[in-house]
Structures are given as C-alpha cells and as structure tokens.
Symmetry: C2
Subunit: 375 residues, 2 copies
C-alpha cells in the first residue's frame, strides 16, 4: 500500500490520478489532497477519499477526519510515500522542494518546476535521495525505454503531433482563433497546455525538462513530428539501436506507471493498441522556423540560469492574453522574445532569484503588451 499526496487534485492530471487510485483501492491510499479554485470538486474528493490532510486556496469547510495543512506540510508529511505534483505554473515549486527535502518519491506533471528550478531540484533530490518520476507522456516513454539501461544513451527523440496548426502558413497563423487553438488533434488537456502544444512551446519546455530529468545535453535531444501520438518518445543508444514506447494518447497510463513504479499493474480500463488497426505511424522532420516558441525555449534552456524562468512566466502571461482575446496567436512568440531580450540573466540562481525573475518577467510581459497597445 502506497500513501499518496496529490497536489492539484482538481485539475486534469489530478482528476485522472484519482481515477487510477479508484482502480486500485488495495494499492494506493490518499493521505493528502490540495486543490485550487474548484472547491466544490475538492470537497467531493475529500469526502470520497477521506485524506488526513487537505489544502485549499479558497475557504473550505473540512470534515472532522481531515486537517487543514499547507501544501509543503502535505508534501513532506511522514506518512506520505509518493507526492503527485499535478499543479500548474510555479504553484508547485515550493511543495516540490519540500517533498524533495523529505526524500519522497515525486510523480511530477508540473513542467514549470524543472524548467524554472531544474538545477536546484535535481541537486537536492540527489542529496536527499528523493526520486523524481515523470508523468508527462514523453518523459514517461523515455523513462520506460531507459529501464535497465542508464549508460550507452546516444540521443533522446521527443515526438510531437505538431499541434493543430502544423501545416498553417504564417498568414493563417495570425488569424488563428482561441477556439481553433483549443482543438488538439490527439490529446485532451487543460487550456494553457493545449495552447502551448499549438505553439510548440510545450515541446520546448519538455526538452528543458528532459535535459534535467535524464542528465543529458540539449545537443543530444531531438524532436520529431509524429502526428498519431502513438510513439510517445524514443531513445537511441550508442550501438544504433532505438527503443520506443507506444500507447494510446491517454494520460492515465503514464500516471499509473509513475504511481506503481517499479511494478506495472494490470488495468483493464486502460486502452490497448492494435497496430494493425492503426495501420501506419508517420514521421516528419520538424521545421523549427515555423515554431518560434520552440526555438525560444531551446535557446533559453541552453542559456540556463534564470532564462527558462523568464520564458515560462512570459509564456504564461502571453498565453493568458491570447486566451482572453487581448493578443493574436502570432503575437505570443513576439512578446516572449521581447521579454527575454530585456532580461539580464543570473547563472546558478537561488530560489529567491528565480522567483524574482518570474515576477519581473510577468510584469515586463504585461507592460510590453500594453505599450504596444495589444491590450
């Protein structure tokens, strides 16, 4: 029986994590839950799973058995074996660090954490013997392919569907609406990550994450277009052999894998692949010039320091401005690039310096958008 804390339990990944818990009542017990604005759902979850600890960002009446706690307290509580970080943005940063310092297993779905503070998290995880277990489908695929072989890796190959606008011309991209950008061809996800998938910023953030998770240089990470989203990523070894992980685009598999690791659990509710029905898996070279957000992310990743934090924060603001119809789809990379251009990076930043860079970038991105009368 593993004792779980789930931070961000009311979001897309959080809800699916609880689905997995429901499938294995004898394997997982929920000890802590933390939710955001959706207090109705959080209250339901607390009533169903009866956790000892709960956190809500808004006011919430808790049942007798459940005690109100901070996310940091939940993440580091002695009874907790595994902390699922299903928060978004920088919310999960401090609780993740608390879990790391308590030597927990951490199932990580919140990309921004490693993008912003990869060096700190990975260094402290080693010190405290905490395990970072990726939940993103691409990183889960790589992690699965690396089982039993930590040496001899030549390249990681991240796949991307290319998003809904892969074949759009620059003039078509300018006219992309919010509604169009929220139609992902293969995955159902939250709004922010769906827009990030359309700009391919998401793949850039994943590349930075992979760099930290698998201790591999950016030069050894490639991205390839694979429209069917069946092969979730590949590892090439030094002898030329490639290993790939395949499954239907369903986040419950990587979630369950992270929860059950090192075991694999039989789960009949997860879909099976029939390759003969799928018939064809196709691949295309990525045209980086069509995806300025991807290039910005790779560039920020290579620069390191506070640059990835600025990238993340500027992207969050720019995406929000697009979703609220203040800027156009094609303004997203422009405004992020301008923000990054104004930043004076700090190498090996402390957590405070990272948070300061984050605040600076949010303010700057908004200011730039206003000055250009975009909003």
């Amino acid at each position: 029986m593993k004792n779980l804390a789930i931070l961000g339990s009311t979001g897309s990944i959080g809800k699916q994590t609880l689905d997995i818990v429901r499938s294995f009542p004898d394997k997982f017990r929920v000890v802590g839950l933390a939710g955001g604005k959706n207090t109705d759902l959080l209250a339901e979850q607390i009533s169903e799973f009866q956790p000892r600890l709960a956190y809500s960002s808004l006011k919430l009446t808790l049942p007798g058995k459940t005690r109100f706690s901070s996310m940091e307290e939940i993440a580091s509580h002695p009874e907790v074996d595994l902390v699922a970080i299903a928060t978004t943005g920088k919310t999960g940063l401090s609780p993740t660090l608390a879990a790391v310092r308590a030597g927990k297993s951490i199932a990580l779905a919140n990309k921004e954490i490693l993008v912003m503070a990869g060096e700190i998290i990975i260094t402290e995880a080693k010190q405290h013997r905490a395990k970072i277990l990726p939940i993103d489908s691409e990183h889960s695929a790589i992690w699965q392919c690396l089982r039993g072989e930590r040496v001899g890796v030549a390249r990681l190959i991240l796949t991307t569907s290319g998003g809904p606008f892969y074949h759009y011309s620059p003039s078509q991209l300018v006219r992309v609406t919010v509604e169009e950008s929220l139609q992902h061809p293969t995955w159902k996800m939250g709004k922010k990550v769906t827009v990030d998938s359309a700009t391919l910023m998401n793949k850039g953030l994943e590349t930075i994450e992979a760099h930290w998770l698998f201790a591999i240089s950016f030069e050894k990470i490639e991205i390839i277009i694979h429209p069917q989203s069946i092969i979730h990523s590949l590892v090439e070894f030094v002898d030329g052999s490639l290993k790939a992980q395949l499954s239907f685009p369903d986040m419950r598999l990587p979630i369950q894998y992270a929860l059950s690791y090192p075991k694999r659990l039989s789960n009949s509710t997860l879909p099976r692949i029939d390759l003969a029905k799928i018939k064809s898996l196709t691949f295309e070279t990525i045209d980086y010039a069509r995806f300025p957000c991807l290039e910005l992310a790779l560039d920020a990743g290579k620069k390191g320091g506070t640059y990835p934090t600025v990238l993340c924060a500027a992207d969050e603001i720019a995406t929000e401005l697009f979703l609220t119809r203040h800027i156009r789809f094609s303004d997203i990379p422009t405004i992020i690039a301008e923000t990054i251009g104004l930043h004076h990076g700090i190498a090996n930043p402390t957590l405070d310096e990272i948070l300061a860079a984050d605040a600076w970038a949010r303010e700057t991105t908004l200011k730039l958008a206003k000055r250009e009368s975009l909003c």
Copy 2:
C-alpha cells in the same frame, strides 16, 4: 576482454560476427573457430584470428598455434567466455549442450536448437547458470525491450515483413521460382532461411524459440506484418504500454548486442535510423490461411515433444527439394504436413529420442516426396 568461440564462422552470421570482432580488437579475442565446407575461408579466418582451437568438417592443415578440436571441446573450453552458435540445422545442438553444461554465455543464432530441444537446453541452462543470448533480430528486440522488466509482460509481438510473396494468390504461389524465393525484400540471409522467410516457416520457428527463450505461452505470442522491417518486435505490458526496438535490418546489431551485453558499444559502422527519412512504418494483420507453414509450426510448437523436431527436419528436406527444383514452392507445406501426420510424438523426449525423430522425419519426408513422384 571477452574470449569467444564462433561455431559456424564461415556462414552468413559467422562472418558478420567476425566483422564485429574486427571492430573491437580490445574487447573480443577469438579462442575457437569452427567451419563447414568452405575450408578456404575457414583457413583465412584461422590465419587472421589465430585461435587456439579450430574445427573443420573437412580436412584442413592448421598453423602451429592452432590445435584441432571437436566443436564440443571448443564450446566448453575453460578459456572461452562466450560461444556464438552460428551453425545451421541440428549441427549446433551437441556443441550448444556442451556450452550449456560448462555454464557459458551462448549467443544463439541457430534457431533449430531451441525448436528441437528447447526444454532440455533451457532446463540445463538454469542448472548450470548458462546464459542464452538471442541473436535473431526479433528475439534480440524482445530481449532489449525486456531489459529491466521481467515481470508484467502481457504479450510478445513478433514482426515479419511478410516475405516476398505476401500479396500472391494461391495460383501465383504454385509458380514461384527458386530465384524469386531468394529475393527477400528487407534482409540478406542464407538460402534456407530466405525460403523459410518466404513460407513464413521462419516466423513459426521464431515463435517456438520465443516461447522457450522468454518462458511465455504460445497464446501470448502474436505475429504482425510490418513490411519495412524497422521495428523488429514489441513487448506489451499488463498496463497496456508497448515497448519496441527499432533499427535498420542489419544482423550486425543483434550480433554485437549479444557479444557486448550487458554493455552497448559505440560502433560507427552500424547504420543509424532517421525516422523522418523512413517517413512511415506500416502494419497489417497476418492472414494465417495464406501461410500454411506458419500454422504447421505454431501447431507443432503447441503440441511440443518431438513434433517441433519433425517439423524442422521435414522443412529442411522440403526446402532443399525446392531449392534443387524437385518440388514446387506450394509443395513445401503439403509435404511437411504429411510427415507430421505420420509421426507418433514423444512427450519430454531425451536428446537421443529427438535425434531419432529427426532422422525418421528426414527419411519420411524424402520417401513421401518420391512416392508422390515429386522427385
């Protein structure tokens, strides 16, 4: 430095094994060589690699440093770490058993050995802590996918290109010539295995081999058509996740992997895959009715005992009769089925009983062919 013995060094797999040895003079040393009828090539190999022990089925003058030995002596010699069994048919059976009993690592390319004597070999390998390392591309793929995960396997999925006649009608199959049958679409191999690939007998033998190598029931082994021969096989786990191994169809990779295991060696002479250039990997359900040899093999595998031996022997004779233009391509399964139909199987056979079944099947297949005036 690993000390190698290579039995069948003058055949296709043997020559490629020596190519790998040439690439890593500081990793592998050849201690023993055994060759068949091509004594000129064997003499060259002995002169180049200066093994301590050599065997030739025909007369051969050996240089001073090299001593004539039996294949069994070479396979079990104390100096030998790994024995590559690159022989064909039943020739390698007795030397393999000698290597098993001496607790060696055995890189196995000779399919018939596990098909004929799987139970004996696997049982004795456990007793003597010998390791059986597959060289066949499909089994190497499965072995690579199973690294780090020996439990939680739901299915093995063997891929096949379908061979050169996959889309032929029954009437076209009757007219297939020897020359056509030797044109494999993706692999360059010896004549016997190329014809076995065209009848899909080869995939049937591989299924029986996989059953023994990975201790998995026939019900959990599937075959799928994959014309490009890039994915060499897949493993499906109980959670619905699949792992695949990909590489260009080049036997040197699985050979090198078996020799270097558990390490992977960087080898620039091995080709790299560029998925964007390959563009598409396709899959089709196999139509078992089109491949009677495959059905015969799966049936013999499930029956067990001496049936797989009879299958192997009858196939060897029938293929030879086809290659020498005595019977038609479509006669191959007919004559094998007739031989199997006449056999009284023995369960849990001894090695002598296996060899007796082999002799009986060869004789019977020839008799049947003559009686039907096929030759």
